[in-house]
């Protein structure tokens, strides 16, 4: 059994503007990318973040061996109650995803 943090070379999150969060998962090569794409389904990512599937957008970028995930932020960046102004630590729920 392999998990995403063993397979991917980069798993990073960051704001894409103050209202959206983007998570990039970068793989070293085409086989890794193919395995990652298969695991990073809308349903699987929605489960990791406890979000509704319709809030999750997944875009595969084969040329960069990358998968981009876009989620709406629960509050705009820096608003009262925000936990992560830059959104830089919101990648962690994906680390243990089985691939």
């Amino acid at each position: 059994m392999m998990i995403l943090s063993d397979l991917a070379r980069v798993i990073r999150s960051k704001n894409a503007g103050p209202t959206l969060l983007t998570v990039d998962v970068l793989f070293a090569d085409a086989p890794g990318f193919a395995r990652g794409v298969a695991a990073l389904t809308v349903a699987a990512v929605a489960r990791c973040y406890a979000r509704r599937p319709e809030d999750v957008r997944i875009i595969a970028v084969p040329s960069a061996h990358a998968v981009k995930i876009v989620l709406p932020r629960s509050v705009p960046a820096g608003a009262p109650g925000d936990r992560d102004a830059y959104g830089a630590q919101q990648h962690t729920p994906l680390l243990d995803l089985i691939v």
């Binding site: 503007g17 876009v70 820096g78 102004a85």
Partner: protein, 468 residues
Amino acid sequence: MSAFSRLAADWPGTDAPLRVLAASGQLGLGIPKAAFDAGIARAPHVIAADMGSIDPGPHYLGSGKMAAAPSMVRRDLAMVLRAARDLDVPLLIGSSGTAGAAPHLAEVAALLRSVAAELGLAFRLATIAADMPRDMVQAAEHANRLAPIGPITAQIAPSTHIVGQMGQRAFATALAAGADVILAGRACDTAPFAVVPVLLGYPKGPAVHMAKILECTSLCCEPGGRDAMLATLSGDGFSLESMNPSRAATPLSVAAHALYEQADPTRVFEPEGHVDLSAARYTAIDARCVHVSGAVWHDSAQPSVKVEAARPVGHRVAILAGVADPGFIAASSEILAAVCDLVAEMIPQTQDAPWTLQFRRYGIDGVLDWPTPPTTTPREVFLFGECIAPDLETARAVAAAARQHLLHWGFDGRLCTGGNLAFPITPPELDAGPAYAFSLYHIMQLDTWDALDALFPVTLHDIEKDRP
């Protein structure tokens, strides 16, 4: 003759290599000197830097304050200004003073003037304001011409500053007016890097793609960093090289960087159109340089501007406390809720004076609102309380009451009757100043390109020697 007119008059054509040096993606937070000097030694034709972003949150836009320390801004400005005037090449700086509103631009312009006086430099400075007229934004809202980007509600009236992101057109106007140095208010990150190549006839797709990568300097490298980065445009492509020899731009590292901070991996939207990266090609020149081509530019039919604003939401007081008692940690969710309820009874939340109190438990759910609790109880937990109230007095009262009741709260099986909290400092409540929230992150549609240009007025200042 301005630095740009001299460049344009002599320019042999787009087969000639045009070197753009990105000095900094965050001017004022420290330009690493060795890599910058190495970049200057390559005789760039343009020096550009980005100084701001919406990323650090609503505080800077709302308050009109810079994220960088003025002394560091002076240091970085002195480095880029001296180099640009020595080489007599255009210097372009976008999003002055973090958020690029009027007070930010004024503060950076004043620092630049004082640096110029100290260095004894004479040149033509252009400042470009990016403040959006409030009544115009309100009219756009009423006419349904203001669309949110993601989940955010427009609140125009209470906003302290409203800015729009200028594109290349505003910079081009300033260059045409003879500016040697441009300090822009809020600008889209790519504009100061892309405008000179585009004006010299280099194709806009690769020029904007180059700018998109270059605006973060060496972040696109392996390992990434903040060192100056050099782009060389030629024909329909460009090459990239970090000015720190220990950082390598590789096809994969550069392609991956094109995804960074973008919701759409293949299209980068700009004020004047968008660049399509789906046919972009990245090839290694050697172990640490990459050649890039294939990006395609599409002009937008209708002008629009991305507008940003922040509004005050009250006064913030933070509570800082640690916990190690396993009984308290196990019951912390119920205890915190009970304390918040008790304080609400003592200090009523009215419609005129609403206040909020929220706790994050670092070790359990501080960074993320995890869908499931941790599998093992953490040995220690850090409690961060955030109180926001209409005035400092109320925020302090709420925070102090919450802290004291939390300290002595009784719970089933309690052993630690001396107190529940370990305070790292006293007072354990910190006044964090006025709090802000974003109140606009929208696209405003405009009728004409003239209307767009009018939003970003260019002011020229002739900086003379010995006259700060």
